[in-house]
Symmetry: C2
Subunit: 406 residues, 2 copies
């Protein structure tokens, strides 16, 4: 490993505290890198692409400890540690760090912002090198497979030939599945969480509501909005729809019930202003500050298109898969319900994959994979631990070691 290569892979550990938030990882950074382009599934050829990425922990000399973490719809490359710009911890700080489920003192964690995103990677808000202007709606449609193809470019750049584990929830889980299917020789284990084999019409429908809210916002302007006149109302409404689907009935009852947010003010439309309304409005308003409306259109459409098998029978589509799977769902997740996880498990098993399936009895809906959750942490941690020990041992000893977790 050259010095430059080492520097490229080094996690950035600094202060553990920034403003009011702390992280065991302290402040961490994301980098961007320009990579050779890809040809998308739709046939568009990028001459080059930029990806934002984060690394945490240290790559082992054998390069056998890479954990690729893939983000969901609104996530970014900043998976854990404090973000120096926002002062807030990464979106999976609960589960990624020293001694955590994805243990950065043992694993080399890699995370990218997806192609089509707005967190530093090439997306509709990026400048098209051919025109010198933002792509906007001339950006080609991207798919989950395209997002993964872009990540492959990054791994090649980092000279990482193989990942020990690819992990992700929701859209991150779809990427994890595509990794296992499209790059079978590069993936040892795969942990798809709160995800599915293919988006259902109901999942498409909720996204279509959000897209319509954005494109019918007068400020969307066919995608050619400026920084000062963005379709923020539409994007906020889209985010609000999303948020309702991410929470469970139980979580909403516990958090808000029928509580009123405050006494009515003269400017209020109606005398009763429920706490849940205030929460949704806040979620919408804060989201528009950090997300690009066109990216929302492209990424939701990538999710809606997602169909792992793409029309092939399971054995044909998944026959080459070598990864060992831990599939996780949450009982209260009604957006990606356990029934979808069971369908995924059945399909993987039909293609002779080795699959462990865990349906956790959490009460917080689809968001369950994003919040503090010791049972979830233990499950992921034990699986990674057992599999990591397994890959380092001769085959005959594995049964005994894995007995406890399978």
């Amino acid at each position: 490993m050259t010095h430059a290569h080492q520097r490229l892979l080094q996690g950035d550990l600094q202060d553990q505290r920034l403003g009011r938030y702390t992280s065991d990882l302290g402040v961490t950074h994301t980098r961007t890198v320009t990579l050779p382009g890809i040809r998308t599934q739709s046939g568009y050829s990028f001459s080059q692409i930029t990806l934002a990425y984060q690394t945490l922990g240290t790559l082992s000399p054998a390069q056998d400890n890479v954990v690729l973490v893939c983000h969901a719809l609104s996530g970014d490359a900043h998976v854990a540690g404090l973000n120096p710009e926002t002062g807030r911890p990464g979106w999976w700080d609960y589960h990624v760090g020293p001694g955590k489920a994805i243990d950065t003192s043992r694993f080399f964690v890699l995370s990218t912002n997806v192609l089509g995103g707005c967190g530093g990677s090439t997306g509709p808000s990026s400048v098209d090198p051919q025109t010198g202007r933002p792509y906007a709606m001339t950006f080609p449609p991207v798919t989950i497979r395209d997002m993964v193809a872009a990540q492959v470019r990054l791994l090649d750049h980092l000279r990482i030939s193989k990942v020990f584990a690819v992990v992700g929830g929701s859209m991150g889980g779809m990427q994890a599945l595509v990794w296992a299917v499209d790059y079978p020789h590069r993936v040892q284990t795969c942990i798809p969480i709160a995800t599915c084999l293919a988006h259902t019409p109901m999942q498409i429908a909720f996204h279509e509501v959000g897209r319509q809210a954005i494109i019918t916002d007068a400020q969307w302007n066919q995608g050619h909005y400026t920084a000062h006149r963005r379709p923020e109302h539409g994007l906020a409404v889209a985010r609000m729809v999303g948020h309702v689907t991410y929470l469970s009935e139980f979580a909403m009852k516990t958090k808000f019930g029928r509580q009123l947010q405050r006494e009515a003010k003269p400017e209020d439309l109606f005398p009763e202003f429920f706490a849940v309304e205030s929460y949704l409005q806040y979620q919408g308003e804060s989201f528009v500050k950090r997300f690009d409306p066109n990216s929302y259109l492209y990424i939701t459409k990538a999710l809606d298109r997602f169909d792992l098998l793409e029309g092939s029978p399971p054995h044909a589509a998944l026959g080459r898969v070598k990864a060992r799977f831990l599939v996780i769902s949450f009982e209260s997740d009604w957006l990606y319900p356990p029934a979808q996880a069971r369908e995924l498990v059945r399909t993987l098993k039909r293609a002779n994959a080795v699959v462990t399936y865990l349906n956790l009895q959490t009460s917080y809906g689809h968001d369950s994979f994003l919040i503090q959750n010791p049972e979830f942490s233990r499950a992921v941690g034990h699986f990674l631990d057992a599999e990591y020990r397994r890959q380092r041992l001769p085959l005959k000893k594995t049964t005994q070691i894995l007995g406890g977790t399978r």
Copy 2:
């Protein structure tokens, strides 16, 4: 009964066919009537109110055959028969008509458009007699109790002292419940369908998304839009959110699956245009032609406020109830799930009400009460039949007759 009174109560039976639609009732009409005002729960006094209403069938000399049918969020007074303006059957034509569940050859069916609505009754789009201009957002907030109070004015005007049955689904069910609670001596039986005791934070949340879509539409203009510049995009998005919640996962899979609507056109945002997207867009577009955006705000807020007990213990709130209930829910209704119906039943029983509860195994979600459904028809028909015979018999014989349906 005077001749004028008779004319007031007469159903309008004409041709059974209009354009491509037919109805056993033929063309039916709605009337409007101006009534003495009410004082709303919020303290606003209407000097007078207008209600649109429809009557079907003939009032019996004993006035013991009145069935009041209450509509849901987007319904109107035109419950059954062909609407001469649209040529389409009323929203409950499947269940209301000669020989149907609510048998117009036997019952005198009465239906009104709610206060706050836009189907002919006083609502935000009506002209405020005090200013000569539309109320818009100066319209007072209305509640389900206010809607029922307005209906009481109509019944008084029609000199109907008592209803044999009050029936409704969703918001109509809430009105039915309020009738039984607030006017115990005027209600014999009550059939609340696919409804609840109080709106939950999740139900409020979905409505708030719709309201935000409307009020952030640039054309909403604080409610002062004109007929040519209405917030149609916002209203369409609101309707789309609603529609997703009215359908079940199963219905969506059966109806649309992941089918594409058609080959992509150059003007399409994305190459894949799913059938479910097309369906939602159509639903949004057709809704805006017939519904007033401000009414949508007021009516959804009335639903969100709904809490039958309003903080009182069940026995205090429901102790005076005399009606006998048939509560119906649908297994696949995830917007007003069976658990809410069971809570309603438990609460009614705790107040010593006589309640029959039926959870039907239909697969079409919340919309199940609006579609053709023989099991549902039979349940409502048998209950009304048994109760109608019961009220005409001496008390000692009722047990035997009701044995089959309870």
